[in-house]
């Protein structure tokens, strides 16, 4: 059977599965819609959180990025896992005990203020919308390469599927489809990784294969270091970013992870405080399987790529080479017209341009794996993109229906009406996300990475202070969030988009002006520190925290009597 036929079969089966689960788990109440009824088991919640968390970026792009970054790829590996330690120890148990539906719920009540709630809603919408547009695009890319449909058609098919189970099932539908999607995506990621690890090192565990010897008796990493320096690249295990930037980016991603509303909200769906702790551990365990295999895939893919193409005649390239050339993600330009592929670091002499995204998608083809494995990767990429998109859409729809309509504009709304409002805002959110997927503003990819900086700069300090500092008042928290997110936006616009210096073209030249030598991706760390400082200083000079709010704080510190999530 051909790759394409296999892809149709596997994608078809998985989509049918997701729709089946959606029909089985329809939401009947707002509580089911927002937090899946609050009775999800820690195991299911752990898997759902893992799928929610691992987006198209984790599945498709990350290993490819690492393979070009070498050591520096650690910023993603540690940054996107270490945040779960913060989540589990500093946030999840207390927010679960607090027992509301959304992050703005917590901010609004803890800081006894409608303004604080509205600021939080705006931050949540900003973070989630930028993030979700990238996911829809990912769906489109997978469809176009593997099923050979137009990218836009791919986006629309993806929209219909998500619409179906997010609108029908709300959080309940999303949770159980995410459990299935986790299984699909982890299987799809690990099977090729294991195959290639055996092929290259004889060790079936990719995490170990990465540090093992190849068939020629030389350690794989040593060989890759040699190949890299030979071609003029930095040594693979050394990397090229400055230490302070690696530090700042890793920290911003960790703290951002712990401040992302669509991740936090997952911990509202379990029954008890102890379940929230446990499911954070399980979520990280499930995530770590992929995150420790990804750097291995990066090493295998990079070595394979260099060995296959470097200095070889263009005419002898295998089939996958021309397949990917057609998509424009692989470009060869024979500058010195010798018919050989010069793949080197020097841009003047380099003849091959490789898009980082194809490393995972093309890897099974490069390694000559069977057709069904290649098709599996397509199904896995779709599962990763759809599960994250659905989680984000839920945050957007509950921000609108619960935080804005129910708690700000029209508190008299009935339960039934709120459920209708929640479903309608989910439909609206899917359409907006789809629009951005079809007409991606040029900056989507860049902003997805920066969504973490925004979350770090806004939510994280407000939530931490809300739990660990009883005397934190509303003036301080609001000032901190506003200053933090504004500073982050300013830095992003200045150094990522060059808005104040004449547009994108100026960005590269501004690098020497970076504050403390920290890139926009790492700046969330600074913005977060500023948020903390502003909050504490303003707090010092403004009003007392009401007695009943201090009691709420004392209450959330004790795990017993969590009850169920309520309005």
């Amino acid at each position: 059977m051909t790759v394409q036929l296999w892809t149709y079969i596997l994608v078809g089966i998985t989509f049918a599965l997701y729709i089946g689960i959606a029909i089985w788990s329809r939401a009947g109440s707002t509580k089911e819609f927002y937090v899946a009824g609050g009775g999800v088991s820690p195991l299911a919640n752990g898997m759902a959180t893992a799928a929610d968390w691992m987006s198209a970026a984790s599945f498709i792009s990350m290993a490819g990025l690492i393979s070009f970054m070498g050591y520096d790829g650690a910023v993603y590996l540690m940054g996107w896992t270490g945040g779960y330690v913060l989540l589990a120890l500093l946030l999840a148990p207390y927010l679960r005990k607090f027992g509301k539906f959304t992050v703005p719920d917590f901010i609004g009540e803890r800081y006894y203020s409608k303004t604080a709630r509205i600021v939080a809603v705006l931050c949540a919408l900003l973070v989630s919308f930028t993030y979700v547009a990238g996911q829809m695009r990912g769906v489109g890319v997978v469809f176009s390469r593997f099923l050979e449909v137009d990218i836009n058609t791919g986006v629309i098919i993806g929209m219909i599927i998500v619409l179906f189970y997010a609108v029908l099932g709300g959080m309940k539908g999303i949770t159980y489809t995410q459990v299935a999607q986790y299984c699909v995506l982890i299987f799809a990621f690990m099977v090729p990784a294991i195959f290639i690890s055996i092929q290259m090192t004889g060790n079936p565990i990719p995490q170990l294969g990465m540090g093992a010897k190849g068939a020629d008796g030389v350690y794989l990493l040593e060989k890759l270091n040699g190949l890299s320096t030979e071609l003029g690249f930095a040594e693979y295990t050394k990397g090229s970013k400055s230490m302070i930037d690696v530090f700042a980016i890793t920290f911003a991603l960790m703290v951002g992870t712990a401040g992302l509303p669509h991740v936090i909200v997952r911990f509202f769906t379990v029954k008890r405080v102890r379940d929230a702790r446990k499911s954070a551990g399980l979520a990280l365990l499930f995530i770590a399987i992929l995150y420790t295999a990804a750097p291995a895939v990066a090493v295998f893919a990079r070595t394979n790529l260099i060995n296959t193409v470097s200095g070889q005649p263009y005419s002898s390239m295998p089939q996958w080479f021309s397949n990917w050339e057609k998509t424009g993600l692989l470009k060869f330009n024979d500058k010195n017209e010798d018919g050989l592929i010069q793949y080197v670091a020097d841009a003047q002499l380099n003849e091959l341009v490789v898009d980082r995204d194809i490393m995972v998608l093309a890897n099974p083809e490069i390694a000559n794996l069977p057709a069904w494995v290649i098709a599996l990767v397509a199904a896995g990429g779709l599962a990763a993109a759809l599960s994250t998109a659905a989680g984000l859409l839920l945050v957007i729809s509950s921000s609108v229906s619960h935080d804005l309509i129910k708690n700000v504009f029209n508190p008299k709304i009935t339960e039934k009406q709120e459920l209708v409002a929640a479903r309608l805002s989910a439909v609206g959110a899917v359409c907006v996300a789809g629009y951005f997927g079809i007409n991606p503003p040029g900056f989507v990819a860049a902003v997805v990475a920066l969504a973490f900086g925004l979350a770090a700069a806004s939510f994280f300090p407000a939530i931490i202070l809300g739990i660990f500092y009883k005397k934190m008042n509303k003036e301080g928290a609001i000032a901190g969030m506003v200053v933090g997110i504004s500073l982050m936006l300013f830095y992003m616009l200045k150094f990522k988009f060059g808005i104040f210096d004449g547009g994108k073209a100026a960005v590269a030249g501004l690098k020497s002006d970076w504050w403390f030598g920290i890139s926009p991706e790492g700046f969330g760390t600074i913005a977060m520190l500023v948020n903390f400082a502003v909050s504490l200083i303003v707090n010092r000079f403004t009003g007392e925290v009401p007695e009943e709010v201090q009691e709420i704080v004392e209450n959330i510190r004790i795990p017993s009597g969590a009850g169920e999530a309520t309005h």
Binding site: G82, V85, L221, F247, A288
Partner: protein, 85 residues
């Protein structure tokens, strides 16, 4: 009385957090970033040690830390009688 108990529980909890977060910081920012070059002189298998911490080891420790925290807290909850729903 009830308040004292809650305060003591909270203090023990903070102590655990401090210890666990110190480990969290040392394996990632310490071994994986700040002292990476020094550690890279040592090898486990084909991995330079600092590189291994940054791309593998830190993540394993993160997972362990959460499960240790879960155990410690479950024990603490029952010690103070906060394990009832």
């Amino acid at each position: 009385m009830k308040n004292d108990k809650a305060k003591q529980y909270w203090r023990e909890n903070l102590k655990y957090l401090l210890i666990l977060l110190t480990i969290w910081f040392s394996v990632s920012y310490g071994a994986g970033i700040i002292f990476r070059s020094t550690l890279d002189q040592f090898y486990i298998g084909g991995f330079p040690l600092g590189f291994w911490f940054a791309q593998q080891g830190a993540i394993y420790v993160f997972v362990l830390l959460i499960f240790i925290y879960v155990r410690l807290m479950n024990r603490l909850d029952s010690k103070y009688g906060f394990d009832k729903d």
